[in-house]
Subunit: 363 residues, 2 copies
């Protein structure tokens, strides 16, 4: 099946890069046109994804590079740590990888974040390409150059802004994704509506059933529109000095959920989905949006089969966890709130209102 092939370009101060979106891309040689050859190409993946898709990418790469090696990392957010990174470095050094070696991150957000950070640090920076195979990675984490590993004291605390040379989002890889991960990816798709495009929110409401049923045409539009919005935001603020923070709508609450339960208990997208419900309610309690708009977001999160109630960590623990968020300054938590349908901003909120939100949606 071919639904054609879309392209979104991300324009940055010093260069731009392309996001290719479509079915069957891992079977098309042209998708690698213009990328450097290098004598060694390295695919970083996890066992599940590698077994399904690594041979397709290898077939494309073998015509371009003398050697092609595959590094398999254990799957899951709890493995997004120094030990996985060290595994990549060791394999690269043993394989004689040099500054012309290109890394291909074939997998979801965990593989993409580790591989991108490894590329940023190995010999102080080598090229890499994102080949996202989950919906969440295709609509969010593979685009924009945020790479990181987790620290025992905080998620994504150690990382770099480091852009890929290209993003290749083959929609066919979503066919084998568990339902739970489709839902998790939809959390990040839904996010783009309230923060940047109210019409897109309406489109998602109309097409949610098609998206859950993995209709390729609906998925293609969702991935493309998500990438367009992300490209527009990142193009204006690559290093998150201002605007870019809006992409973290729902993430402050969400990170606290992930950290409080132990990373990997909830999927990142699940925590973000629930976090958006909380952040929408916070926006309402701050007098920015009406109750109906917050309810619309909650209803959509629920329809996407995502949790709308947070775990009972206790409000003190939530607050403590949120204070180590990267958006905090001098211990003051700053939240992404919806100022108006399709427009977000970063601002602090009084602790007592945050506690009200937590009392209503968690405990």
């Amino acid at each position: 099946m071919s639904i054609g092939h879309d392209e979104v370009t991300i324009e940055l101060a010093d260069r731009g890069y392309r996001i290719a979106i479509g079915s069957g891309l891992l079977g098309e040689r042209a998708v690698l046109d213009g990328l450097p050859h290098g004598s060694t190409a390295v695919i970083v993946s996890n066992p599940t994804v590698a077994q399904r898709y690594a041979h397709r990418l290898q077939a494309l790469l073998q015509s371009r590079s003398t050697h092609c090696i595959l590094i398999e990392l254990p799957d899951g957010e709890i493995h997004k740590d120094w030990s996985s990174l060290e595994r990549v470095f060791g394999a690269l050094l043993r394989a004689g990888a040099d500054r012309k070696t290109v890394l291909y991150a074939l997998g979801g957000g965990v593989v993409g974040d580790i591989t991108g950070f490894a590329a940023a640090c190995y010999m102080r920076g080598i090229p890499f390409v994102q080949v996202p195979t989950t919906l969440l990675a295709q609509v969010d984490s593979s685009v924009g150059g945020k790479t990181a590993i987790n620290h025992p004291l905080g998620k994504n605390m150690i990382g770099a802004f480091y852009q890929p040379l290209r993003v290749i989002a083959d929609l066919d890889t979503l066919d084998t994704l568990p339902d739970r991960e489709i839902s998790a990816g939809l959390a990040e798709v839904i996010k783009y509506g309230p923060i940047a495009d109210d019409a897109f929110l309406g489109w998602i409401e109309d097409h949610l059933d098609a998206l859950l049923a993995r209709d390729k045409k609906a998925l293609a539009h969702a991935v493309k529109r998500s990438c367009e919005i992300k490209a527009w935001v990142v193009g204006q603020d690559e290093r998150e000095t201002g605007l870019r923070a809006i992409l973290n709508f729902g993430h402050t609450f969400g990170h606290a959920i992930e950290a409080g339960l132990g990373f990997g208990t909830w999927l990142h997208g699940e925590a973000v989905g629930c976090g958006m419900v909380m952040a929408a309610d916070l926006s309402h309690r701050l007098g920015l949006i009406d109750a109906a708009y917050a309810q619309r977001i909650t209803r959509l999160v629920e329809r996407a089969r995502l949790p709308i109630r947070g775990p009972q960590l206790g409000a003190d623990r939530y607050l403590e966890l949120m204070r180590v968020d990267k958006k905090s300054e001098a211990g003051e938590i700053r939240f992404v709130v919806i100022e108006a349908p399709g427009r977000a901003a970063l601002r602090p909120a009084p602790d007592d209102i945050v506690r009200e939100v937590l009392a209503a949606h968690a405990a």
Copy 2:
């Protein structure tokens, strides 16, 4: 004693920064003018340097930031590793450091490299200032934004190009430096002559005794001219895609010596001194410079009380170690050679000529 205060500016594509050079700088508040305040300032140092100089920097910082914390790392190249880096990350997270926190690297190359890399990665990048307290750090490692840690399989293999906001080189900190480290620093000073400024080589020959005697006026000129040359090179090629590699004159052989003996056995500057003797001889054997010029470099290295004979690792081991150098491509070692007095280039060399060099200067 005041000898005045010199300044060198390093101009990069997106911004520039200043290198302040002089006596008594750690007693002058003005040296921090224009730097961001932040609620927390963090000094990273080692126990020896911290005991001598941390109180001076703390006194300057306490008028600017609410909190000032000191992180002490174990001294020595063998500690330039993940475990020291992790110590910095842990301390920053426990202290609630955020993206406005400024790190101050107070020490030599090891402290500067670790702190710079920690600043590059912590929350994907926070500001840092280099306060080099060794001659080697003042003339070379603190300037230009190369940061890194070592990997068991290779020196400086994991790092980032990440520029400091400022470099503050207080010459008074050289008063307490062991003689061996003055010599090691002079290796990097000598380097700038053959690669970029033949007249400077003559000046060093004339002033070597004054430099060894730590004459402040001679040191001030040596540091300033070294920084000017480095700034000129880095300003043209921040990320070492070409020209910048010439700053690694003597370093390919030198790194092999350090790695072969185990990092820390020889000081980095000692290995570079000996490496320059080898690289000068290689340049001569390749027909680029006459024997007299190679001899001039050797004589100067020897006068600086640096080793001119490498350890007997065996030629095969030297070659094996040099193949993992970051300048290698597809397993081919590339050397910085002197093409003419004051001009260097990067090029491969036949193994048999490299073996001749090793036979003459090591084994």
